[in-house]
């Protein structure tokens, strides 16, 4: 490819009009809207479909929806879901999870568990503030994730 350099007129070569144009641009930006979000006070609003912290859904009787089918644990690419199944105490299903842990330090928030789930039990919420101080705290247990239920999409940032 041949690069054609544009022919400069005298006014271009003096350079000063271009400088003034540049200065005008920056001063225009000086008075323009600022794009900064002052984070701790002003929360970022996640887009619909944002994949944040997991939750486990409950059914209309308040029981965990999960039937411990291991679909999510199987599809999980980072193998961060650990489920321990047991006989369900209810009539309408065979199994339920005694233990359901997600290691959020391993999790890559790909949302495949959500897609694999036949019961719409595991879902990703909009919660993105997951910082903590111990490694243990990042292993979300069943009760934690059932607890995040109330946040669900209703947690508006």
């Amino acid at each position: 490819m041949r690069v054609v350099t544009p022919k400069l007129r005298l006014i271009d070569r003096i350079y000063i009009p271009a400088l003034i144009k540049g200065l005008y641009t920056t001063i225009k930006h000086f008075f323009m809207r600022r794009f900064t979000q002052e984070y701790p006070e002003e929360k970022r609003k996640p887009f619909p479909g944002y994949r944040g912290l997991h939750r486990l859904n409950k059914d209309h009787l308040g029981r965990v929806k999960c039937v411990a089918c291991f679909m999510c644990a199987t599809i999980c690419p980072s193998k961060c879901i650990e489920i321990e199944a047991d006989e369900a105490p209810w009539e309408d299903r065979e199994k339920y999870p005694v233990k359901f842990e997600i290691n959020t330090l391993r999790c890559i928030f790909c949302g495949m568990c959500e897609e694999a789930c036949p019961e719409l039990s595991i879902q990703l919420t909009h919660i993105y503030e997951m910082a903590d101080v111990t490694r243990e705290a990042f292993v979300r247990r069943k009760d934690d994730m059932l607890g995040t239920n109330e946040f669900w999409v209703l947690k508006e940032y």
């Binding site: 920056t26 000086f30 600022r34």
Partner: protein
């Protein structure tokens, strides 16, 4: 008390006030620069420390004080330690001849609002401003670091190149003003052409432009900050400096900036002169105060201009810098002198 002691005390007060004002100016500049940069880039800038971020420089100062004093093992210690002090000393001393107000009659004494009324004020400023380069070159050499040395060398070459244009650009002003004393130059500018004040900017627009560009190069600011050049040289001569030694360079740089803004105001914008105020019949003391305020406002206008320029233009390449200095600014400055001379001969 004998007149000598009174004079000495007056002088000391002036020195302290000017030093305080300079340091205060640096503090204000730090905030204005950082927040101004933020605004220009569509950000907010530092706004957490104190109202509107005004305490940010104090926080910075405390941080720099508390940092570890570190000397590189291979550095040449005496010069390494002396360089920042020298740089800052030169920066502060340069301001001494800048007049920031007219004469004031106080308790039957005439006080000149200027630390030293030297009759070769401009030469004094140029002499000391060019000494400032030693602070940079010595730092570059003594830290025993490749980047530092490159920064120092570049700085030396740049300062020498642009000093020529800087010096020649004001010859026109000196020819019109017929004096090297800064007070005389301001006195000249307090006259009028019918209604227009006779500021040198109207007589020497080309000289002003050259001086402005060369001044930015002289204080090593973007687009002429070849000696710092973060991308190529990290920060050039400052690489090995930390804690208060770094702060001294910081202070010195901003003080230089203030000095050159003040010099531009004095040489081209009538110094402390407020146009059309003579007819208003104001009390002389109030007038003197207003003039000092006017001077500060003008200086800050130029400081803001430097900030504005800094966040607008990209850095020159080294060969572009040299070509621009020697092949554009220098001939223009000489041309300016020539034209001024011709006009002065034709219109006595």
């Amino acid at each position: 008390m004998s007149p000598f002691w009174i004079d000495l005390i007056i002088m000391l007060i002036k020195v302290i006030v000017v030093m305080g004002a300079l340091l205060g100016g640096v503090v204000v500049m730090v905030v204005v620069e950082r927040r101004g940069a933020g605004f220009i880039q569509g950000r907010l800038g530092p706004n957490r420390v104190g109202p509107w971020g005004w305490l940010q420089p104090i926080a910075d100062g405390i941080k720099l004080f508390l940092k570890e004093e570190f000397i590189p093992a291979q550095a040449y210690k005496p010069l390494y330690l002396a360089a920042p002090a020298f740089f800052m000393f030169i920066a502060f001393v340069t301001f001494a001849v800048i007049p920031f107000g007219d004469k004031v009659e106080l308790f039957g004494r005439t006080i000149q609002l200027q630390i030293a009324d030297v009759n070769i004020g401009i030469l004094y400023i140029f002499a000391f401003a060019s000494l400032g380069v030693y602070g940079i070159v010595i730092a570059g050499w003594s830290s025993n670091n490749k980047f530092s040395l490159m920064g120092g060398l570049r700085s030396a070459a740049q300062m020498i190149s642009y000093e020529v244009a800087l010096g020649l650009s004001i010859i026109g002003v000196l020819m019109v003003g017929q004096s090297l004393r800064l007070n005389d130059i301001i006195g000249m500018q307090t006259q009028y052409w019918s209604y227009l004040p006779r500021w040198n900017i109207f007589i020497q627009p080309l000289g002003f432009l050259i001086f402005l560009i060369a001044a930015i190069a002289e204080v090593n600011r973007i687009p002429f900050d070849l000696c710092e050049a973060e991308q190529e040289l990290v920060v050039g001569y400052q690489v090995e400096y930390g804690s208060m030694k770094f702060a001294m360079y910081y202070l010195g740089e901003y003080t230089n900036l203030i000095t050159f803004s003040a010099l531009i105001v004095v040489l081209f914008f009538g110094g402390w002169h407020i146009p059309w105020i003579e007819g208003l019949n104001i009390h002389p003391l109030l007038l003197a105060l207003l003039q000092v305020v006017a001077f500060v406002v003008k200086v800050f206008a130029f400081l803001w201009f430097f900030v504005w320029v800094r966040w607008t233009f990209p850095r020159f390449r080294y060969d572009q810098l040299m070509r621009f200095g020697w092949l554009v600014l220098l001939p223009l400055a000489i041309f300016n002198i020539f034209v001024t001379g011709v006009v002065m001969v034709l219109i006595p």
